[in-house]
């Protein structure tokens, strides 16, 4: 058994951010994640990199944090971000007083903005509703949650950080009310393992209270479910927000060839309650129509929901500063020595994806101080991805279609070299396995062989396989022989396929009308009739 100074529980953005920060400071750390990295809230959101403008009125501190992190992330994680810019759109129904408040809020938080003329607005976004009064541009952007989380994990690894996926922390081990280790279970083979450590960082997000609960420590995390819809095309070129107090269904975020409309907000009992409901979808569409007319005629390919972990104090008025609690009202750092007399356990709760790096920095500062480590945080300066050489870029463009080449380089960075070599040796490996998202056979093969790919869904999160408009109808079949490459690792093929199809189905079920229903009939025809996966054995 290997020991570490720190064990981090939870492989979302915050967890991997902490892993990277600690590893860069030379503190040995292991991250344990019960599923795949970014399987939870860090990938189940609209993918908006906030400029802070959304919080300019209600939550000035949050707004200020967002704009400063927005600038940092655009520098260090450029390959995960598409700097689309964002608009705040005031329509006839929106309160003009609010607009004045908002403009002051943005100025106070230091969020740069520019008013756009209506003629320019309609020219640049022709689908926008025609009853708008004013439009303001802010530095909103879009971010790929999967990519950002994996980039953090890989960067951490280069500094000696470790992570294990599909490992669930069963309990925290205490000696005289001091953390001495954790007991975890490998969910793939059910093996128990014990890991010694002096500090545990609870970055479990919506699961954080369950983790603290394993040693009887009470931690209040409010599970706030947000449902989102994905449309099959890029409806807008930039993020479109409604200029009114933040509400449901008032943000459109374009990603590559799709658009996401979000979100709703509903308190739920557990992070597992992430099934979108019909009434939420109706509400989203109704609100979305305020920005995009005839929204019902657009094709929705998927609904999904994430559970935001809000800290109790989020809902209170004050930002009172307890000892051991960090300053922000948006996220809270809880030192359980002060609250629960448990030494070496710190929980980080609340926060936003946009501020994950800042949260990680605060946690790492606390941990470093504890170990007497004086090295300062450098995560805001160093890029996540090492520079890709010009030669590699050139080679990629020679072997793959332009868009496919660029996307692959963004996903794999320097690791793309191995994929390109494969394609060079066997041109058929350059064929697109996923035609919607342009993922080559060689790339999927490489990812399938990664030590941390255990399910088809893990490959999906790393490559976007099955996330395009066909929602897996064709590429699921095409990924099948790749799973056979390592017999021991993947479940029997047909079970694996069924699981993957059912996961895709979960997000399609609630939006089953129009063209998506038609597509679903094709998918059913392929898997139940042509392939007969629900098969027969009676010969």
């Amino acid at each position: 058994m290997q020991d570490y100074q720190v064990v981090i529980v939870g492989g979302g953005a915050t967890g991997v951010g902490v892993l990277r920060d600690l590893s860069m400071r030379g503190i040995s750390a292991l991250l344990l994640e019960q599923g795949d990295l970014a399987h939870g809230t860090s990938s189940r959101f609209h993918g908006l990199l906030h400029s802070g403008a959304r919080y300019a009125v209600k939550d000035p501190l949050s707004a200020a944090e967002c704009i400063s992190e927005n600038i940092i992330l655009k520098k260090i994680a450029a390959h995960c971000i598409s700097d689309t810019g964002g608009w705040f759109v005031q329509s006839e129904e929106d309160d003009p007083d609010y607009v004045e408040q908002w403009l002051r809020g943005c100025a106070n938080a230091g969020i740069p903005l520019r008013e756009i003329s209506l003629s320019e607005a309609y020219w640049k976004e022709p689908l926008l509703k025609r009853n708008i009064l004013r439009v303001f541009e802010v530095p909103d952007a879009t971010v790929d949650g999967f990519k950002l989380v994996w980039a953090n994990a890989k960067s951490a690894k280069r500094y000696g950080g470790d992570y294990k996926t599909y490992h669930r922390v069963e309990r925290l081990i205490l000696e005289n009310k001091r953390i001495v280790g954790v007991a975890a279970k490998n969910l793939l083979n059910q093996e128990e393992l014990l890991i010694g450590c002096q500090v545990v960082v609870n970055a479990g997000g919506a699961w954080a209270s369950e983790i603290a609960g394993s040693i009887g420590v009470h931690l209040d995390v409010i599970c706030d479910k947000g449902t989102l819809l994905a449309f099959n095309q890029r409806l807008f070129q930039r993020v479109i927000n409604r200029l009114h107090p933040p509400s449901d269904g008032d943000i459109f975020v374009p990603h590559e060839t799709i658009t996401i409309l979000g979100t709703t907000s509903e308190i739920v009992g557990s992070p597992r309650e992430n099934q979108p409901k019909e009434e939420e979808i109706r509400r989203l569409l109704m609100m979305g129509e305020e920005l995009l007319p005839k929204i019902m005629e657009r094709r929705v390919i998927r609904a999904f929901a994430g559970v935001r972990p809000l800290h109790r104090e989020d809902s209170e008025v004050s930002g009172k500063m307890d000892e051991g609690r960090e300053v922000s009202r948006n996220f809270a750092l809880i030192d359980h020595e002060i609250h629960d007399q448990v030494q070496g356990l710190i929980s980080i709760v609340g926060g936003k994806f946009t501020t994950y790096r800042l949260m990680a920095e605060k946690v790492a500062d606390w941990v470093a101080k504890r170990f007497g480590n004086l090295r300062p945080c450098s995560t805001a300066q160093e890029k996540l991805l090492s520079e890709i050489s010009e030669d590699l870029k050139k080679q990629a463009l020679q072997l793959l279609p332009c868009a496919a080449a660029e996307k692959m380089l963004e996903r794999l960075g320097e690791d793309a070299g191995a994929v390109l070599l494969e394609i060079q040796n066997d041109p058929s490996k350059g064929q697109m396995l996923c035609e919607c998202e342009m993922v080559s056979v060689a790339e999927v093969e490489k990812v399938a062989l990664d030590a941390d790919a255990h399910h088809l869904a893990d490959i999906r999160r790393k490559t976007r396989l099955g996330m395009g408009t066909c929602q897996g109808a064709f590429c699921t079949y095409r990924a099948l022989p790749l799973l056979g490459l390592e017999h021991a690792k993947f479940d029997p093929l047909q079970d694996e396929l069924k699981r993957f199809i059912n996961q895709r189905w979960k997000g399609i079920r609630p939006i089953l009308w129009g063209q998506q229903l038609r597509e679903t009939e094709l998918t059913r025809a392929i898997y139940t009739s042509i392939l007969q996966l629900n098969g027969i054995r009676d010969i």
């Binding site: 058929s428 056979g484 007969q532 098969g535 010969i539």
Partner: protein
């Protein structure tokens, strides 16, 4: 004035047209698309007909055994290349190499020989898209444990340009090539190259080869000392395409008129009769009148029924479809209630009001996927319902 106008040119519509034309009727088929036969490798699934005939409201129950049987037999007289009968299921290989039940099948797909052989040679043309030799081999081993399975990869000069470019050879490319004169010559060479495998003791499986409706290919094969078994393909499939083409040729040979790429824009009704449809074709509107109209627009997948968040709508006559109370289940490959949506009819296939059972349009017949209360995918009777209802409508025109 036409005797019958069929709206929709898939399997059901074409069969109705052929039957009516054969009976000397003047028939027009108006179709937006080309049906969905290219998805199915030309296999006609009949399902468990005896059970389905006893399933309340199922189209088989509505039409009865005589119609189901006659339709299947009629199809086989049209296409003697098809094997099987309506009571006994045949087995064909899925693209994954597992056997599956089917009703009427192109002869080349018949897997009977596999159950008896001790050696299977699986031909694997290099670079073939959507065919996975290793997966097929492992599934064949599971299904036929008495046999050894030898994988035989091979290349064909005609596809060298494909190999150099890394371009996938689709099933359609393959099927087309083997039917050409040079393809047949190459094929003879391929058979020769098997000599060292003692093929006379083996059964050869040949994905990408489709002999249905090809006299020269069947001749080459009948002279071989071993059986050759073809496979169904991942869509699009050339086998389905050839069946579509075969149906169209039959229909036209019988004097039928086919208008493809034309959607019905409007219908004109008088009381409970439809007397005219207005069709948009090549940018202009044309009017057609007929004594009988047959609706074969393919349900949800074919575009004959459109569903919004609010309602489901039949697109030509505006008939109210039957909408099941449940909508979906969590197991994707299982029963999905929505799939049983469709237009309810009397046993003459005339549309009826769900509640009062009153006939809504007296000279309109509903066929194929437009009918309510069945699911081609879980019941595996897609071809059967289309044949039976199409044949029946063809008799009524």
């Amino acid at each position: 004035m036409w005797d019958g106008i069929i709206i929709g040119g898939g399997l059901a519509g074409l069969l109705a047209g052929i039957r009516a034309a054969e009976r000397g009727k003047k028939v027009l088929i108006v179709s937006e698309g080309v049906g969905s036969l290219t998805y199915s490798s030309g296999v006609i699934d009949l399902g468990d007909a005896e059970r389905l005939m006893n399933q309340k409201s199922h189209p088989y129950a509505l039409l009865g055994e005589r119609v189901v049987r006659s339709a299947a037999e009629y199809f086989q007289t049209l296409f003697p290349d098809y094997w099987g009968n309506w009571r006994e299921p045949q087995f064909v290989l899925t693209p994954l190499g597992s056997p599956r039940k089917a009703g009427l099948i192109p002869r080349g797909l018949n897997t009977q020989a596999l159950s008896e052989t001790h050696k299977i040679i699986l031909m694997a043309l290099e670079g073939m898209k959507d065919f996975f030799p290793e997966v097929a081999k492992s599934n064949l081993l599971k299904a036929y444990p008495q046999a050894e399975v030898v994988l035989h990869p091979f290349r064909v000069e005609a596809f060298e340009a494909w190999y150099t470019l890394g371009k996938p050879i689709t099933g359609m490319d393959c099927g087309k090539y083997w039917r050409t004169a040079s393809g047949i010559e190459t094929l003879k060479g391929v058979w020769k190259s098997l000599d060292s495998f003692e093929p006379d003791k083996a059964v050869v499986i040949f994905p990408g080869l489709t002999s249905v409706f090809s006299q020269p290919l069947r001749e080459v094969q009948s002279n071989l000392p071993f059986s050759v078994i073809e496979m169904t393909a991942f869509p699009p499939s050339d086998g389905g395409y050839y069946l579509y083409r075969g149906l169209v040729q039959k229909f036209k040979a019988l004097g039928g008129e086919l208008l493809v790429g034309s959607g019905v824009k409007k219908v004109e009704l008088k009381g409970k009769q439809c007397h005219k449809i207005i069709v948009n074709s090549k940018g202009k509107d044309s009017e057609f009148s007929a004594r009988v109209f047959v609706l074969a627009t393919g349900g949800i997948f074919g575009g004959g029924i459109e569903v919004t968040l609010e309602a489901a709508k039949e697109m030509v006559f505006g008939l109210p479809p039957f909408v099941p109370s449940g909508w979906t289940n969590s197991e994707f490959l299982g029963e999905q209630p929505y799939a049983r949506m469709g237009v309810e009819t009397d046993n003459q296939l005339r549309p009826i009001d769900s509640a009062s059972k009153e006939v809504l349009l007296e000279n309109v017949r509903i066929i194929g996927r437009m009918l309510a209360h069945w699911d081609p995918w879980v019941e595996r009777c897609g071809g059967g319902v289309s044949l039976a209802s199409g044949w029946f409508a063809g008799e009524q025109v």
